[in-house]
């Protein structure tokens, strides 16, 4: 009666790579399964490895020695699930963030314009990309950027992952020709090959999308909570009386009409010059992307986290001082000419949105050495 056990074969189902939730297999079920394997034995021959898992390959010829293992029978096994894949993605993302070889001339990295020792920006009116090309708009801070509802001054990218890959292949920014060029660089260094395998165990090859995911994971870790977060969490002693006066002024003036959410901004689009037309209409904001009349002068409301350290301000970097930009916003967006003491009070609050990011998170990592296979810089 138990003879079929001798013929036990792998059932014709793909192995799972996630945690196993297989139901209890009772004796009768087991025998049924075993009997069924006889009938479906033929299917094993034709089975294609499932490309969502680390698939045992049928290239038995590559094996050492003479022993041939029926690769189809390995389908009942599975790889271990990933252990804290997020930490591996963040570690890889940090390397990529500091990686000059992700630019065509191998002279700039994400960290060039989003300098982590300068509060995630570079203090310039307009940053310089490939061949010193001036960027179209001021570089916003990468710190806390992931908490915004969209990325870019005109909200053209849905998240930090999309923004990251777009910058790498933008001819005006890092100017890599295409995904192939990016992969050629990364795949030339065994340390990157390993780091991608660790961070994306289900994927065999390095991809631009996965580079974007790792960069995204790193940026999502670049969050800098301040005393403001302690205050919001219920610690009413976290802010001084002057700072609370600043909060009150901010609210009384109505700044929170637009500057809302986790980043005290970055949560909606708004017309620059809502009440009083903006003096410089050169850059029409989201209109440049959508060509919709209603998008004229629409910009993403600026993220006010770390604003103290991330001037010059506005999409064109045209305003140097925080006092000045606060007064301009009140005037053009809310139709209010603020007295100096109100401006200063708001700035006192804005400075509570500043803190240092965790030191070990922003410390430049050691990058792998180039190999003979690593493409050379191209400054053309």
């Amino acid at each position: 009666m138990f003879e079929p056990l001798h013929l036990a074969a792998a059932p014709c189902t793909p192995a799972r790579s996630g945690p196993i939730t297989r139901p209890v297999m009772k004796t009768r079920t087991l025998l049924t399964v075993l009997a069924a394997t006889l009938a479906i034995a033929a299917c094993e021959e034709n089975k294609k490895p499932d490309d969502t898992k680390p698939a045992p390959k049928a290239s038995a010829s590559a094996e050492k020695g003479a022993t041939k293992v029926d690769q189809a029978m390995l389908a009942v096994f599975a790889a271990l699930p990933a252990a804290n894949a997020e930490a591996d993605k963040i570690a890889l993302g940090k390397m990529l963030f500091f990686e000059n070889r992700l630019s065509k001339a191998q002279d700039i990295s994400c960290n060039t314009c989003h300098a982590l020792d300068k509060a995630g920006a570079d203090g310039k009116k307009l940053s310089e990309g490939h061949k010193k090309q001036a960027q179209a708009r001021n570089t916003p801070s990468v710190l806390n950027a992931s908490a915004q509802f969209k990325q870019g001054w005109d909200g053209r990218w849905k998240d930090v992952e999309e923004a990251s890959t777009a910058h790498i292949t933008d001819p005006k920014v890092m100017a890599m020709a295409d995904e192939k060029a990016v992969v050629a660089v990364l795949a030339s260094m065994p340390e990157y090959v390993d780091a991608f395998k660790k961070a994306f165990p289900a994927d065999k090859d390095i991809t631009l999308a996965n580079a974007g995911k790792a960069l995204g994971a790193y940026q999502r870790a670049l969050l800098v909570p301040t005393k403001w977060d302690k205050y919001l969490a219920g610690d009413k002693t976290a802010m001084s009386d002057d700072e609370l006066k600043g909060v009150k002024t901010f609210l009384d003036v109505g700044c929170q009409t637009c500057h809302q959410g986790a980043d005290v901004g970055g949560s909606l689009m708004q017309k620059l010059g809502l009440v009083k037309p903006w003096p410089d209409q050169t850059d029409q904001g989201a209109f440049a992307v959508t060509k919709q009349e209603t998008d004229k002068m629409m910009f993403k409301v600026a993220n006010l986290r770390e604003v103290e350290k991330t001037g010059p301000y506005l999409h064109d970097g045209s305003v140097d001082s925080l006092d000045k930009v606060v007064a301009m916003m009140a005037d053009h967006q809310l139709g209010k000419v603020l007295p100096d003491d109100q401006v200063k009070s708001i700035v006192v609050f804005l400075k509570t949105l500043t803190a240092d990011p965790p030191a070990d998170l922003v410390k430049a990592p050691t990058l792998p050495k180039s190999t003979p296979k690593t493409p050379k810089p191209d400054s053309k």
Copy 2:
């Protein structure tokens, strides 16, 4: 026409703590919202803080100085999302795993029986819990345990989180009286209060469930891939010819009928003595929990990862040698009396399932010092 802007107030919606996906707010919408705030202004007064977010509290009296901020207006803001919460959970879980003060007599921790320097077990037939009480069954390794479909020899716990909290309050194991007793210990040390806040930013208080989640996160990181995983992933040079012969013997004999999945076991329940009745029927397995006739002698199929180092074997720790247990399994489960060379060949394969866990992951952490508030050990 823009006068209502002067009266701008927080809309009567809860703030979000996750990434913001607020749609574009156009001028007209904005004005509508502002007008609406006039009508709903009264609701602000009655608004209760949403307890799923770090709620601004209305206890303005606790604030420093004289400035009173209308707490309801803070609802438009939000805390930053958590940065790599998984890493924070793992770090906390590691502390808890080594924490003797989570046992009543403060003399044993998870690591006492699941010793990470002994492949996640303790090498004893039966481990000793509170007051040296012998456990009912042999301690299985904690390494790779999270990849099993259920936890415990009889599968009584659905996951490592559930198993962890059950052990802490089990009178025969760590013997903590209840959640209150656990929280009294942890909340007495500021380092734990901070670590819980970091790992579970949305939760104000320490809970047993969150201790279980942190312990679970740590255990889910305790995965030890070996050359077997490399082989499964397609590296046909990862295993020697002898080891491949072992795989072939394992498959030919039919061990994979039960020992499947990521842990080469731990993925289903099976009757011990399926073909030939098991000699010792004292422990009836899952029957003890379910009282179902069909559950008599049903045990979870043993996880074979690290099996080389985690003897003695079986639910009662009754078998010392790996050779012996392999022969017994073939005999009682598959009705096959294996010649010695087949047993030895299978054992060669089983030894490929051994590797060392990452050193920094299993190194004992520095634990916080007890404070005057920390409950004293109770060895009764």
